[in-house]
Structure formats: structure tokens, C-alpha cells
């Protein structure tokens, strides 16, 4: 499948972008943004993950089935995290009967 092969230029551009983003993450940590620090850090991490996934791992050029597998993995992970957290955080909403 010849279309699945990014060029060397693409790889280099993505790599440079990744380095910039990594520097950005580290740098922004030294600036006081309050709660936004975490949000920004995770957002940058998500972008880096997407770059690695789409270009280094060829997802940009892959067919739908492969992408579904990736999405399924994320979705199931989200399921596990959300349901567990839902339990932990709703425990205090209602107290069991008793003294």
C-alpha cells in the first residue's frame, strides 16, 4: 500500500514539532496558570500523542478498521475510569442509615 508511506520530510517536521511541544510543556510548568497548568499540560500531551500516532504510527494513512481499534481502546479505558470515579465521588452524596 504505497500511500501508507510518509516522506522523510514529514517525519522531520513532526519530530521538530514534538520537540517544540515538549519544551513548551516543560516551560509552561514554570508559569503560574493555576488550574490551567494541568489542562494545558494534558492538552499538549494529547497533541503529542496524536502526532506520534498519526504520523509515526501511520494512522493518518490507515484504513478505518485500525482507527476503530484505537478508538475502542480509548473508549473502554474511558469507561473504566469514568465508572470507577463515579463510584468514588458519589459515595459522599448519600450516607447509609445509622448513627
Amino acid at each position: 500500500m504505497n500511500e501508507e508511506n510518509p516522506s522523510v520530510e514529514t517525519y522531520i517536521v513532526v519530530f521538530v514539532a514534538l520537540l517544540i511541544l515538549a519544551a513548551l510543556t516543560t516551560g509552561i510548568a514554570y508559569i503560574n496558570l493555576g488550574t490551567l497548568n494541568t489542562v494545558v499540560a494534558l492538552a499538549i500531551a494529547a497533541v503529542k500523542m496524536s502526532l506520534v500516532g498519526l504520523f509515526f504510527m501511520h494512522l493518518w494513512y490507515s484504513r478505518g478498521l485500525t482507527r476503530i481499534v484505537v478508538l475502542a481502546g480509548f473508549f473502554w479505558l474511558a469507561l473504566m475510569v469514568l465508572f470507577t470515579l463515579a463510584d468514588v465521588f458519589s459515595r459522599s452524596w448519600i450516607k447509609p442509615p445509622g448513627p
Binding site: L65, A72, G73, W76, L79, M80, F83, T84, A86, D87, V88, F89, S90, R91, W93, I94, P96
Partner: protein, 464 residues
């Protein structure tokens, strides 16, 4: 052993500590080393390539690795068994398993962890094979129903088993370092282990039953000599079961200090997960209608499955409903419920499948008369063993207890009678003889047609 011990209210056979080890090892071996791998490994590996028209599975050497990994895991568990056993229950709850016990938790957990990889690789193999290696013209909607079930089970294998692996891994780390993320001393939550464990173990029970349902779909079709009624419904209900099964693990945590709201949602979703299973049962029943039914051994097993699985499934609703579930939790009702599904369901399907495909696998024929007798004996013995347990549980007898109040003795003895050694030995020997007998006679598929008209056609038709 356990049933013999429970003939007496004060325990007849073993020390309580030993009893704990017995039920733990029984659970570990049955769940991880028999029910999970049985149909996928024995029938799946054989039938999947055949049914889609491929030469072999996608990764045959990975398949072999899967077997070696299974043996390695089994070796660790066997070692744990021999050197004194574990007594946490097959569920390895923390902090008992991570902190307070000095039995072979790590060895057993390691054995199960390793075997988990065997499952993952098998599931992976099936998924890739079914997606990528179907013969030209073999569309999804032309596949035998067995494949849909195997596919759904493989999806669960792949997505759920890693979570069991990490849960056991973390318990192991906590035992080794004497501190960990489930440790209340540093603010950890033991219930987190239960979340991770049951995130796997609930879908796992669907791994155990889905391939069995696939087998039953094949058997029902073959022995009614009809196309399956509602093929697309049976196919999609397998996928629905696979997806829904991941949403309901909270129903194992009703009394664990989980929030009431989480229990609420789990309860509602647990009712929903019964629907696809019911759809299957209705479609199988509709397949029988106006079919030309023949009652060979595999069909008897299939019929046993449908009846007993339905009973087990319906009692699951008692447990899913929050109000009754809290009372029935950790009683014999639960034990009866899952044995009805696992033995009455999965094991029956497994035996039916083994009998059905035995001639194809070995080229030999078994004696159907004996096989039918064995099926009936198993059916009766099974019901005698586990039906009283429903009543025991409803009356309040707790599970995993080596002693019990005297008022429960009658039902316990009945249950033990059903499970008694002689009976088991009898039906085991019958089963063995029904399978071993054909080693004398080297009949082949062609002669099948002579001995049992229509059977050869039926087997051929089932493989389309």
C-alpha cells in the same frame, strides 16, 4: 471434596483453613484454567479457520506460544496448589490478599497473570483471523453463528484481560513491598482492587458463556435441520452482550461500600444485559418450531443448555435487583446461580460441542446411546446438586463457610448426594466410555451416513 465436607453442619472432612483453600483452588482452576479457555481453545482453534475458509489462523506460531504460556501459568498455579494452596477465594480481595495472608498468593496470582496472556493472544488471533482472512464471498452475514460468538468473546478477551493482569500485578507488588495503592494505611482504597478485578471478571463470565452460546446455535440449527431463526438478531446479540458486559461490574460491589448511586446504575444496566441473552433463547426456540428434531447426544446437551441457562439467567435478575441482591450476596443463591450458568450452561455446551465435532476432529464415531445416557445422568446429577443450593441461599446460608447452622443440613445433604463421588465417577466413566469406545471401531464419516441417516448431511449443512 467440598460437598462431602458439608454433609455435616460442623464440617465432616477438613479443617476450616483447608476448606478455604479448597474453594479457592476450585474457583481459580475452574474459572481461569477451564471455563475461560475451554471452547475457544479446543473448538475455536479448530473450527475458526475452517468456518471462514482460511488455511490456518492468522498467527499459528502465536497460537502455539499461547499454549506454552498457558502451561507455564498452570505450572505456577499447580505449584501453589501442591505447596499449600491459597485461601483468599478466587477473587483475591484486598487487603486480605495483599496484606494479611501468608499463603501462596503471589505464586497463584502469577500463574493466573501468565495464563491471562494466553487468553489475550488467543483472542487477538481470532479477531485478526476473522477480520482479515475470510475467503472471498464470506461476508460477515454469511458466517456461521459460532464465529459471531467467538468474535464477541475475543473482543472481551482483548479488552478485559489486561485489567485483571494489572490488578493482580498491583496486588503482587503490594505484597512484595508491603505498601501499595490498595493499602488503607497510606490512604489507599481496597475497593479499587474490586473495581479493577470485576472490570475483568464480569465480562469474563461472558467469555465463558458466549462460545457456548455459539455452539448451541450450531447444534440447534443442525438438529432441527433448519436455518437459524433470526440469524441477524443472534449475531448482533453476541456483540451486544460483549459491549454491555463491560458496564455492569458494579453489581459485584453492592455491599462493598460502593456508592448507592453506582449500585443503582449497575443494577439497572444488569437488567439490560439480560436482554440479548433472552433474544438468543427466543430465537433458538423459534428455530425448533416446525423443525425436524432429532435427539442425538449433542442435541440433548443443547436442550439442557437452553433450559438450565434460562434458569440460571433468570436467577441472575434476583441478584441484579439491588434490594434482593444485597440479601442474597455471598449466599448459596449466588453459587447456584453461577453454577447453573457455568455448568448447566457452559459445560453442557462444551460437551455438546465436543460430541458434535468429535467425528470431524478425530475421524471416529462415539456411541450415541451411551452418550445420551451420560447426558441424562449429568443433567439429573447437576440439578440435584445445585437446585437445593438456591433454596439454601434464599434461606440465608452463606457461601465460603466451612460450617453452617444445623437447620440447613437436609438441603446440604441433598446437594452433596447429587455431587457424590459415586455418581460423578459413574457419569465420568460413561462419558469416557462413550468417547473411548470408538477407538475400537474405526468408523469414518461416510459410514456415519449408514448408521445415522441424515447426520452426515446435517454436519455438512452446519458448515455451509
Amino acid at each position: 471434596m467440598m460437598r462431602l465436607h458439608l454433609i455435616e453442619p460442623a464440617g465432616a472432612l477438613v479443617q476450616p483453613e483447608t476448606y478455604n483453600k479448597l474453594f479457592t483452588m476450585h474457583g481459580v482452576v475452574m474459572v481461569f484454567f477451564f471455563l475461560i479457555p475451554s471452547i475457544p481453545a479446543t473448538l475455536g482453534n479448530f473450527l475458526v479457520p475452517m468456518m471462514i475458509g482460511a488455511r490456518d489462523l492468522a498467527f499459528p506460531r502465536l497460537n502455539l506460544l499461547s499454549w506454552y504460556v498457558y502451561i507455564t501459568g498452570a505450572a505456577f498455579t499447580l505449584y501453589a496448589l501442591i505447596s499449600g494452596g491459597v485461601d483468599t477465594g478466587w477473587t483475591f480481595y484486598t487487603p486480605l490478599s495483599s496484606h494479611y495472608l501468608n499463603t501462596h498468593v503471589i505464586t497463584t496470582a502469577l500463574g493466573v497473570f501468565i495464563t491471562g496472556f494466553s487468553s489475550i493472544l488467543t483472542g487477538l488471533n481470532f479477531i485478526v483471523t476473522i477480520h482479515k482472512m475470510r475467503a472471498p464471498g464470506m461476508t460477515w452475514k454469511r458466517m456461521p453463528l459460532f464465529l459471531w460468538s467467538i468474535y464477541a468473546a475475543s473482543v472481551i478477551f482483548v479488552l478485559a484481560t489486561p485489567v485483571l493482569a494489572i490488578a493482580l500485578f498491583l496486588v503482587g507488588l503490594e505484597r512484595i513491598f508491603h505498601v501499595g495503592i490498595f493499602d488503607p494505611a497510606i490512604g489507599g482504597d481496597p475497593v479499587l482492587f474490586q473495581h479493577l478485578f470485576w472490570f475483568y471478571s464480569h465480562p469474563a463470565v461472558y467469555i465463558m458463556i458466549l462460545p457456548g452460546m455459539g455452539v448451541v446455535s450450531e447444534l440447534v440449527t443442525c438438529f432441527s435441520k433448519k436455518k437459524p431463526f433470526g440469524y441477524i438478531f443472534i449475531a448482533y446479540s453476541s456483540l451486544a452482550i460483549a459491549v454491555f458486559s463491560f458496564l455492569v461490574w458494579g453489581h459485584h460491589l453492592f455491599v462493598s461500600s460502593q456508592s448507592v448511586y453506582a449500585g443503582f446504575i449497575s443494577s439497572a444496566l444488569s437488567f439490560a444485559v439480560a436482554i440479548p441473552s433472552a433474544i438468543k433463547v427466543f430465537n433458538w426456540t423459534a428455530t425448533f418450531y416446525k423443525g425436524s428434531i432429532s435427539y442425538q447426544a449433542p442435541m440433548l446437551y443443547a436442550l439442557g443448555f437452553i433450559g438450565l441457562f434460562t434458569m440460571g439467567g433468570l436467577t441472575g435478575l434476583f441478584l441484579a435487583s439491588l434490594a434482593t441482591g444485597v440479601h442474597l450476596h455471598d449466599t448459596y443463591f449466588v453459587i447456584a446461580h453461577f453454577h447453573y450458568i457455568m455448568v448447566g450452561g457452559a459445560v453442557m455446551a462444551y460437551l455438546g460441542g465436543i460430541h458434535f465435532w468429535w467425528p470431524k476432529i478425530t475421524g471416529r464415531l462415539y456411541h450415541d446411546g451411551w452418550a445420551r445416557f451420560a447426558a441424562l445422568v449429568i443433567f439429573v446429577g447437576f440439578n440435584l446438586t445445585f437446585f437445593p443450593q438456591y433454596m439454601l441461599g434464599y434461606l440465608g446460608m452463606p457461601r465460603r463457610y466451612a460450617v453452617y447452622p444445623a437447620e440447613f443440613q437436609v438441603l446440604d445433604v441433598m446437594s452433596s448426594a447429587g455431587a457424590s463421588h459415586t455418581r460423578r465417577r459413574l457419569l465420568d466413566s460413561i462419558r469416557l466410555s462413550s468417547l473411548v469406545r470408538p477407538l475400537w471401531t474405526r468408523s469414518r464419516i461416510e459410514s456415519l451416513e449408514r448408521e445415522r441417516p441424515g447426520m452426515g448431511d446435517a454436519i455438512a449443512a452446519s458448515h455451509r
